[in-house]
């Protein structure tokens, strides 16, 4: 084999701590290497042309590039060598940036290490073979998990493009957290006025099937061909019959049911529709509070329902659907502030969360949009907002910024001053994070036009005194301790991964970070893809973000699916396992361990059994290869010989 080695300097990224010329020189010592050079930016157009020229001029049969991580540029260089007529698998990469130049300043050691990594790549390349992909058909249906604004947007965009969409929502209605908001920053648009039409669209699109009160139970398959089981939870109301008239809700005798839609600030009934604009507008029974279930008798709703939709015996139902792609938009939960003992740990009724205040402000909220204290219904005069509760706080394991609180506090303070011009609003903040279009102007308006008092410092303690709440904080700009006598305290509770996010990630085989937010494929360049092909992300499930970003990501994920579905088949990677039938001893261990059922028995003439890999099902993990005693199954492009060659370079 004639091998060429190209050592990238990556500007100074590599060259400043690695002697790239020396690495290239040493590469010429290795067997089969006929050409080696070092270049400023190998991934650039001229850099790629240099490789292509060398392939032709030097008649190269294999190429090694020593540069950044193959996770970054392997596809780039594979395309480049392919253009020059080589098979794209006759290429290897040595990672001398992320694994060498960026992690040590010792030039001598780095150069030695880079040279050895190149040697390993060359040794491996000598065992490479040309490989070509195969193709499988795509099932052009898409599953959207989560019906918040990101999921709604993704579903609508996919449906608009003519795709068949299934939208699965855990709650009885779509709308997510946005449906609970009163207004949105920085325009003070009414939240339900802008979200409502989109929710109605979802209900009306013929190619969207909505499963509310449902969850994803299991996921099998792979890109183009996922098979998903969905659990439709028992609502105890036959939604095919329910007209959403609301009579059951009026007559239900269980009147002290905490109203979760109103963040438990008011009460609702044990049967009903969560809010007037709900989609689907269907009733659901809350079994935890329904007297038919808690006391074994009642039956009022069953008697009253004009269409006979009530069915107390209803059980969860499982349905299976096939999809070619999945968009995950499972949103977030609000940080539970009971871990802040210094703020009362949830013991003080007038210390509330940001979302609770949002419900108080809302005309459809528990107090009809009148601002009053949950404890005694009194109109507050002094209202304190505290930023960063459950954000940027390592002591409660939430060191990240939730990204939206600065803005929503400004909005809530403006709305408060609008509703109650005589009130005083105080905002305790550490920094104001308002990097969006018209965002900082909005925060300035809160201060300049609406007279909201911003105090730079955290609050150390809140305690009740004479029917007030004493807020003891700091003004670090003043270098002083300050106290505010408040009537109501709103904690700008932060954003955290939604309950069950980790379990869903495991079903989908996507990664999540230590806080439960889903990992995108690349933080900058592949922000809506995951490392599992065919699974895309939208909204806060990937990390804290506001409404415009969530909507943009929903559209982006939809565009990714459209692009995927624009073809009828997809290429499957040829990096799959392959059985050498002559070596196979038919012990069946590979079949036993394969996580994907990708290996089966094949009968040769004379009834002899051998293992056989189905390349379209094989995901290329190599577990069979590790298990096979005579090593008859070999994972292509990561064969025993290739790994042994790399080991031998280092150890022999």
């Amino acid at each position: 084999m004639r091998i060429g080695v190209f050592v990238c300097q990556c500007g100074t990224n590599i060259a400043s701590t690695v002697e790239t010329e020396a690495v290239a020189r040493e590469a010429l010592q290795h067997p089969d290497v006929v050409y080696a050079t070092s270049y400023m930016y190998t991934c650039s157009e001229p850099g790629q042309q240099q490789i292509q020229r060398a392939i032709q001029e030097e008649n190269l049969q294999g190429v090694v590039v020593a540069a950044c991580s193959p996770r970054m540029h392997e596809p780039t260089f594979r395309r480049a060598v392919e253009k020059a007529g080589l098979n794209r698998f006759m290429f290897e990469m040595a990672n001398i940036r992320e694994h060498v130049s960026w992690i040590s300043n010792d030039r001598q050691a780095n150069t030695r290490k880079a040279a050895e990594l190149v040697h390993m790549a060359v040794a491996k390349l000598r065992f490479n073979h040309p490989l070509s992909p195969s193709r499988v058909a795509i099932n052009k249906r898409v599953l959207v998990i989560g019906g918040g604004v990101a999921g709604i947007q993704a579903a609508l965009d996919c449906a608009e493009g003519g795709l068949e969409v299934v939208l699965v929502e855990r709650q009885p209605s779509i709308g997510g957290k946005m449906a609970k908001l009163d207004k949105t920053f920085p325009t003070i648009d009414c939240s339900s006025c802008i979200l409502g039409p989109k929710m109605v669209d979802v209900a009306q699109k013929e190619n969207i099937r909505l499963y509310a009160c449902s969850e994803v139970e299991s996921v099998a398959g792979y890109i183009g061909n996922f098979s998903v089981q969905i659990r439709r939870k028992a609502t105890c109301v036959d939604w095919n019959l329910c007209t959403g008239c609301g009579l059951c809700m009026e007559k239900c005798p269980a009147k002290k049911v905490p109203d979760h839609f109103n963040e438990d600030l008011g009460n609702t009934r044990a049967i009903g529709i969560p809010f007037p604009q709900a989609i689907p507008k269907k009733a659901t029974i809350d079994k935890e509070h329904c007297r038919q279930f808690t006391r074994g008798k009642c039956g009022v709703c069953k008697k009253i329902c004009p269409v006979g939709a009530i069915d107390y015996e209803m059980e969860d139902e499982f349905i299976s659907e096939d999809f070619g792609a999945i968009i995950v938009a499972t949103g977030f939960d609000l940080f539970d502030h009971s871990s802040y003992g210094e703020y009362g740990g949830g013991r003080f009724p007038d210390v509330i969360s940001g979302l609770q205040y949002e419900r108080i402000l809302s005309a459809s909220g528990p107090f009809g949009g009148h601002i009053q204290r949950p404890s005694d219904g009194r109109q507050p005069r002094n209202i304190v907002f505290i930023a960063c509760v459950g954000s940027r706080d390592a002591s409660v394991d939430r060191p990240y910024c939730s990204g939206v609180c600065c803005m929503y506090i400004a909005k809530q303070a403006i709305l408060t001053r609008d509703h109650l011009p005589d009130s005083n609003c105080y905002v305790f903040y550490m920094d104001i994070r308002s990097p969006g279009k018209n965002y900082d102007e909005f925060v300035r308006r809160a201060q300049e036009e609406y007279g909201v008092n911003y105090i730079r410092g955290r609050v150390g303690k809140i305690y009740p005194k004479n029917n007030h709440l004493i807020v003891q904080g700091a003004d670090t700009l003043l270098g002083a301790q300050v106290e505010v006598e408040a009537d109501l305290v709103v904690l700008a509770t932060g954003v955290e991964a939604s309950a069950g996010a980790r379990e869903l990630a495991e079903k989908l085989r996507i990664s999540y970070d230590q806080y439960g937010f889903y990992m995108e494929s690349h933080p900058k360049l592949r922000p809506v893809e995951t490392n599992t092909a065919g699974v895309y992300l939208a909204g806060v499930c990937q990390g804290p973000k506001d409404i415009p970003s969530s909507v943009a990501q929903g559209s982006a994920a939809a565009a990714k699916v459209q692009a995927l579905f624009s073809r009828d088949t997809i290429e499957t990677s040829p990096q799959v396992a392959l059985v050498n039938e002559r070596a196979c001893v038919a012990c069946g261990k590979c079949i036993q361990v394969c996580p994907f059922g990708a290996i089966q028995w094949k009968e040769l003439r004379g009834g002899i059994q051998k293992a056989e890999v189905l390349p379209s099902v094989c995901q290329g993990c190599g577990l069979c290869n590790a298990t096979c005693p005579p090593k008859a199954v070999q994972l292509q492009h990561c064969t025993d010989n290739q790994i042994l060659a790399e080991i031998d370079v280092l150890c022999a």
């Binding site: 069946g588 261990k589 036993q592 005693p629 005579p630 008859a632 070999q634 042994l644």
Partner: protein, 322 residues
């Protein structure tokens, strides 16, 4: 007593014969001290079958091979004689679906232990052994130098002195009465423990000394009832090329790692690898050490319960500590 058992064996083999196409057992060898396997395809040969403390071979070794080759026509089965230890090899083969239970007729031989010829030779000194008699628990050894008497226990194989399963764990018929097991389980790994007591350097030196003698004749591998690869062993293949044919210590170590790790969680400690080694390398010890590890770590012993999957061919998402 031996003759009683032998006639019982013959009787039971005769009874089973109409259902069998082949019966694998032991026959007398070229002298008192040796036996060889016999493959009976004609009922007239049943009389060749013997049973005594010299029936050392693990006949399960032949089972997988003959299972693959047999047609199974007329629903005829393969008969095989097994000792307790050998029966575990059969179960291990069943655990991996390498053989089908319904195709076998198993004649179980409760066993008090097999004589280790090396020990006999050592005890007799240089003199040629003329004859050996076993009476109850005593061995009478007649050599040119005279007659020597030993307790039988002293000349049993290493594996027999730590045997926990003298009775076949799987059988269709038993020859003789079941025996009570001798050693407590906690003593089973005494030999491994003795090595473990050495320092790291001493252990390395020990294996360097032992494995340096290895000829890479692969007798150990060929005698192993659970080695599925046989002539496709990666110790010899070119692709993939795990080993060279160079006779030096790393390659020898590597070969024994291959054999041992391929048996991790599978070895039933029949000891055949060690018995057949011409260089008298205690190769079974490596597998015993691995068995001790899989027992402690994964609570698994190969060849006991036909329903259990060998631990390295499965997983447990809930297990902790690893």
């Amino acid at each position: 007593m031996n003759s009683d058992l032998r006639s019982e064996l013959h009787k039971k083999a005769e009874q089973a014969w109409p259902d069998l196409e082949l019966l694998i057992g032991w026959q007398a060898g070229y002298d008192d001290l040796h036996t060889t396997p016999v493959f009976i395809r004609d009922s007239a040969e049943i009389s060749k079958l013997i049973w005594n403390p010299w029936c050392t071979q693990n006949l399960a070794v032949y089972v997988a091979k003959h299972f693959a080759a047999s047609s199974g026509k007329d629903d005829k089965k393969i008969g095989v004689c097994v000792k307790g230890c050998d029966s575990r090899s059969l179960i291990a083969l069943l655990q991996e679906n390498l053989v089908a239970r319904e195709r076998f007729y198993i004649i179980g031989m409760p066993c008090k232990g097999i004589v280790d010829l090396r020990k006999l030779h050592a005890l007799s000194g240089a003199a040629r052994i003329l004859s050996v008699q076993v009476n109850a628990e005593q061995v009478a050894l007649k050599s040119a130098a005279g007659v020597l008497h030993f307790p039988l226990d002293e000349v049993l194989m290493r594996k027999c002195r730590r045997c926990r399963y003298p009775n076949p764990l799987i059988h269709d018929v038993l020859v003789g009465d079941p025996l009570t097991p001798r050693t407590d389980a906690h003593e089973a790994y005494n030999d491994v423990a003795a090595i473990e007591r050495l320092s790291l350097q001493e252990r390395l030196a020990f294996w360097q000394g032992e494995l340096d003698r290895c000829l890479r004749c692969y007798a150990c591998r060929n005698a192993c009832p659970l080695c599925v690869c046989q002539d496709r062993c990666i110790a010899e293949t070119r692709d993939p090329k795990w080993l060279t044919q160079y006779m030096h210590l790393p390659e020898k170590f590597m070969f024994h790692f291959i054999h041992a790790l391929h048996l991790a969680g599978r070895c039933t400690e029949c000891g055949e690898c060690e018995r057949v080694c011409p260089m008298e390398i205690p190769v079974a010890l490596i597998k015993e050490a691995l068995n001790k590890i899989t027992l402690e770590l994964l609570d698994f012993e190969a060849g006991l319960d036909p329903q259990r999957v060998p631990p390295l061919l499965t997983f447990d998402a809930g297990e902790t500590g690893i």
